[in-house]
Symmetry: C3
Subunit: 137 residues, 3 copies
């Protein structure tokens, strides 16, 4: 059995947005008791990640690390049509992935106590992002 | 319902090969309307990724970044039995993953307009790669 | 059809533990012939990865690379409540992911010859980790 919804979410520019409640709502609507919830962004300059949800400094530090691994405006990049955050956003998306899956048990997301699901915007400006949630059981 | 095919694909050495049409063909053969298409490489020195499919410079820049994060012939590596691209290929595989899943809706892959599915060869020489595509709905 | 087990596994501190046999046992118990085995850790300071299972130097080299990409005790980190390996563990978890899926065919994990499934502890001290295995077919 598979159930699917496509969400349209706004981001506030670079940074993370907690989408756990959105995903949980789709899981509840699916009626699936045991299975998987898969989340996918239809873009190549943002990503999805699971990380610590308690201290916002964790996500700030993740940005600091990404700024080293994939800096904006790197002179080595050839692809820069949309500005200094164009190619760096693609790199960050590839390193952190456009999709993830969370197990579902007893009709709920089986996340750990400190795990949050985040939509990670890598472009500097706010964007509209399409997120496909598929629940299989 | 699950449907599976194992594809044998050749790579031309380091770089990306668009396998979106191969995956789409398996999805069509599966008859699944709503669900997930999972793609997996049975190797540890190549990977699968979703990134921008329009400008080939994006994939060239991704190689540039990988050459920094996981350089060939790094003297710190102990594992170099198969040459300078041996361990660097394992690192790149771990950073970018051996598997990914794309949602299926109305019998088609729900990729964004600019998303392509790429088999990413990290070894310098051409290889034969086994790719398992599993469609669940 | 979905089958699920939650495993409680101990780690010996930073490093990898091969959990392939644990996952294979759950697949056998599931009775699923064709489908997917999804593995997920309910934590944000360890991860799951598939890499070379023959030469342990590969995993040692992966630690060497991670120590560069996400060093312990980096003065740039703001989040360091649990010590110098706190934030570095979160970064490594995000870069290598809390979940993965392996195809199942003829009732077995369709891993390549040299592929192992590893629980990767990023904290310095031994931990108890909860791993959710979900088999769908």
């Amino acid at each position: 059995m598979a159930y699917q919804e496509i969400l349209e979410l706004r981001t506030a520019g670079r940074g993370t947005r907690d989408i756990g409640a959105d995903v949980a709502r789709v899981v509840a609507a699916s009626g699936v008791g045991c299975g998987l919830a898969h989340v996918f962004v239809q873009h190549t300059s943002c990503s999805l990640t699971i990380t610590e949800n308690a201290d916002a400094d964790v996500r700030r530090d993740l940005e600091t690390v990404m700024a080293r691994l994939a800096p904006d405006g790197d002179p080595a990049y050839r692809h820069d049509m949309e500005g200094p955050d164009d190619m760096s956003a693609h790199v960050r998306s590839v390193l952190t992935d456009t999709g993830l899956a969370v197990p579902v048990g007893a009709g709920r997301l089986l996340l750990g106590t400190w795990q949050g699901i985040f939509l990670w915007e890598h472009r500097a400006a706010p964007q509209r992002r399409r997120v496909v949630v598929t629940v299989i059981g």
